[in-house]
C-alpha cells in the first residue's frame, strides 16, 4: 500500500486533501443551516434554535441524527433505480464542483510534496465548474420525475425549465471576466486581479478597467441564486403550491442529500463569485509597509470573536453553556494566536480573505431569504430571458470592445 502511494504521489496527496475538505465541507454545511436559521430568526424577531446546546450550537447534530434515523418509505410505483440515483447524483455533483476551487495561494507539504490549497488545478477550471453545474439539473429533474407523484413532477419540471433559462445568463455573465483575463484557470484568474489603482483601490474584476464587471457580477449573482433554487427563485419547492416540490416524496437520508446538495451549490456559487469578481484570496488592502498591520486582521477578528464568546458565555442562562462557551472562546483565541505566529501570518491571509468574502455572500443569501417574497412563474421566466440574458450579452459585447481597444 505504501509503495503504491509512493509511486502515485498525486493520488496520495489528493486523497488526503479530499478527506480533509470533505470533513470541512460537511461541518460548514451543518453550521450553515444553523447560521441560516439563526439569521432568518433574528430578521423575523425570533430567537431561532436555542435549546440544543448553548445558542442551539448542537442543533445541526440533532437534526442530522433525526434525519438519519427517520423512516424512509418508498412511494408505490416509482422507478426504483432513478428514484435512488437522483439524490446521489445531486450530492455527488455538488461536491465535485468544490474540487477545483482554490482556497489560497499558499503551499503546504504532505509526504514531502508541496501542494496547493486546491484539490485539482485544472487549465479549464471555470469550464469544469460550469459543466458540473449544468449537470446539476438532473438530480432535481429526475428526483421529481421518479417520485411518481404530481407535485414532485411539477416541481422537477419547473426547476429544469428555470435552471436551463438561468444557466444561459449565468454562463454569459462570466464571459466578460474570461475575456479580460484570457484564461479558464481559476488560479490565474485570481492572479490577474492583483495590484491596486491609485494605491488603494484593488484591481478586482468588479471594478477594474478596461471594463468593470459590475453588470456581469449582478447578472451572475442573480442567476446563481436562481440556479441554486433559493429565495426569491425557489419556485421548484414553493410550499404554498407544490408541498415541497421535487423532494416531496423523499424522506430521511435521501432528503438530506438533496438538502446538502443545495447548500453545497450555494457554497460553490459564492466561491465562484468571490474568485471571479472579488479577487479571490487577495486582500483588499495594499501590502505596503504602512499597511503591514492589515496582516493581523485575521487575528483581530478571531480575537474579537473569542472575547464576545467569552463574555457571553459567562452570563449564559444554562450551566453547560457557561462551561462550553468559554471553552470555545479559548479555542478560538488559540486560533487567533496561531494566526499571529511569524510563519503562519502570510499563509493565513489567502484563506482568511477568501473565506470571509464567501461568508459575506452566504450571509447575503440568507438575508435575501429573510426579506424577499417569491417570484411568480411568468415573472421569473420573463426576468431571466428578457432582462438578464440581454444584459449579459450587452456586457460581453461591451467588454470585448473595451478589451479590443485597450489591448493594442
Amino acid at each position: 500500500m505504501s509503495d503504491f502511494l509512493a509511486q502515485h504521489p498525486v493520488l496520495a496527496t489528493s486523497i488526503i486533501k479530499v478527506v480533509v475538505l470533505m470533513a470541512l465541507m460537511l461541518t460548514s454545511f451543518a453550521y450553515l443551516t444553523w447560521f441560516e436559521r439563526k439569521v432568518v430568526a433574528h430578521i423575523q424577531s425570533r430567537w431561532g434554535p436555542y435549546r440544543v446546546g448553548p445558542h442551539g450550537l448542537l442543533q445541526p447534530l440533532a437534526d442530522g441524527l433525526k434525519l438519519l434515523f427517520k423512516e424512509d418509505p418508498t412511494p408505490g410505483g416509482v422507478d426504483k433505480l432513478i428514484y435512488f440515483l437522483a439524490p446521489f447524483l445531486a450530492l455527488a455533483l455538488a461536491l465535485s464542483a468544490i474540487a477545483v476551487i482554490p482556497f489560497g495561494p499558499g503551499q503546504f507539504e504532505i509526504f514531502g510534496r508541496a501542494t496547493g490549497l486546491q484539490i485539482a488545478d485544472l487549465n479549464i477550471g471555470l469550464l469544469f465548474l460550469f459543466a458540473i453545474t449544468s449537470l446539476g439539473v438532473y438530480g432535481v429533474a429526475l428526483g421529481g420525475w421518479a417520485s411518481n407523484s404530481k407535485y414532485p413532477l411539477l416541481g422537477g419540471l419547473r426547476s429544469s425549465a428555470q435552471m436551463i433559462s438561468y444557466e444561459l445568463s449565468m454562463t454569459m455573465s462570466v464571459v466578460g471576466v474570461v475575456l479580460i483575463s484570457g484564461t479558464f484557470n481559476l488560479r490565474e484568474i485570481i492572479a490577474q486581479q492583483q495590484g491596486y489603482w491609485l494605491g488603494f483601490i484593488p484591481r478586482w474584476n468588479l471594478v477594474s478597467p478596461p471594463m468593470p464587471q459590475l453588470l456581469g457580477f449582478l447578472v451572475y449573482f442573480i442567476s446563481a441564486i436562481a440556479e441554486t433554487n433559493r429565495v426569491p427563485f425557489d419556485l421548484p419547492e414553493a410550499e404554498t403550491e407544490l408541498v415541497a416540490g421535487f423532494h416531496t416524496e423523499y424522506a430521511s437520508f435521501k432528503f438530506s442529500m438533496f438538502f446538502m446538495a443545495e447548500y453545497f451549490n450555494m457554497i460553490t456559487v459564492s466561491c465562484l463569485a468571490t474568485l471571479l469578481f472579488f479577487g479571490g484570496w487577495l486582500s483588499p488592502f495594499p501590502s505596503s509597509s504602512v499597511m503591514a498591520w492589515t496582516l493581523y486582521i485575521p487575528t483581530a477578528v478571531l480575537a474579537a470573536c473569542a472575547l464576545m464568546l467569552f463574555l457571553d458565555g459567562l452570563r449564559y442562562t444554562t450551566k453547560s453553556g457557561r462551561i462550553v462557551l468559554p471553552v470555545l472562546a479559548i479555542v478560538v483565541a488559540g486560533l487567533a494566536v496561531i494566526c499571529a505566529l511569524p510563519g503562519a501570518v502570510e499563509f493565513v491571509q489567502g484563506p482568511f480573505w477568501f473565506l470571509l468574502k464567501v461568508f459575506l455572500f452566504l450571509f447575503f443569501y440568507v438575508w435575501l431569504r429573510g426579506t424577499l417574497p417569491r417570484f411568480r412563474y411568468d415573472q421569473l421566466m420573463s426576468f431571466g430571458w428578457k432582462l438578464l440574458l440581454p444584459v449579459s450579452i450587452a456586457n460581453v459585447i461591451l467588454t470585448s470592445g473595451m478589451v479590443l481597444v485597450t489591448r493594442r
Binding site: H8, D79, L81, I82, L85, L122, N123, I124, L127, F128, F130, A131, S134, L135, V137, Y138, A141, L142, G144, W145, L153, G156, L157, S160, A161, M163, I164, E167, F184
Partner: protein, 165 residues
C-alpha cells in the same frame, strides 16, 4: 497495467454498456440517462487524450444542455414505456447487414491505427489556445458557415413552433 489503461477500459465499458442499454431500455427516461452516461464516458475518453476543452464542451453541450431538454420533454409529455416490436423486413434484410458492414469498416480503420496522422494545421488541438487559433484562423470560414447553419435551424424551429398556434 498502467493507470491510464485502466481508466480507458473503465470508461470504454461505461460507454459501450450505456449505448447498449440506450437501445435495450424500454422507458424513454432510462434511454436518455444511458445516453448521458455515454456522453460523460466519451468526455472522459477525450480527457484521457489531453483534449480538456473538447471534453468539457462535450459535457456542457450534450449532457448539460441537449440531454436536459430531452429529459425535460420526456417528462413534460409523460411518455410511458415503449412496446417492443419485431424487426421489420427492411431492418432485417437491409439494416442488419449494413450495420454489420459499418462495424467492420470502423474496426478496420481503427485497426490500421492513427499514429501516422498529423493533427490538422500541424498544431496540436489539445490546448484551448491552439484549438481557438485553429478554429478562428485556419478554419474560420467553415466555422462561421456552421454558425449560419445553426442559426437557420433555430429560425426553422421558431417558425415550426409558431405555426401550430
Amino acid at each position: 497495467m498502467s493507470a491510464q489503461l485502466i481508466v480507458f477500459f473503465v470508461l470504454a465499458a461505461v460507454a459501450v454498456l450505456g449505448a447498449v442499454s440506450l437501445i435495450v431500455a424500454r422507458h424513454p427516461i432510462r434511454s436518455a440517462l444511458s445516453l448521458i452516461a455515454v456522453m460523460v464516458a466519451l468526455a472522459g475518453l477525450y480527457l484521457l487524450q489531453g483534449a480538456e476543452l473538447v471534453a468539457v464542451i462535450q459535457i456542457i453541450v450534450y449532457a448539460g444542455a441537449i440531454m436536459v431538454l430531452f429529459v425535460f420533454v420526456i417528462m413534460l409529455l409523460n411518455a410511458g414505456e415503449e412496446e417492443r416490436t419485431n424487426l421489420s423486413r427492411m431492418a432485417r434484410y437491409v439494416g442488419l447487414p449494413l450495420g454489420f458492414f459499418l462495424m467492420l469498416q470502423l474496426a478496420w480503420w481503427v485497426g490500421r491505427g492513427t499514429s501516422g496522422m498529423a493533427p490538422a494545421g500541424g498544431i496540436s488541438p489539445a490546448l484551448t489556445k491552439n484549438l481557438s487559433t485553429l478554429l478562428f484562423r485556419n478554419f474560420a470560414l467553415p466555422f462561421e458557415l456552421t454558425s449560419i447553419l445553426i442559426l437557420v435551424a433555430i429560425l426553422g424551429a421558431v417558425v415550426l413552433a409558431k405555426r401550430e398556434r
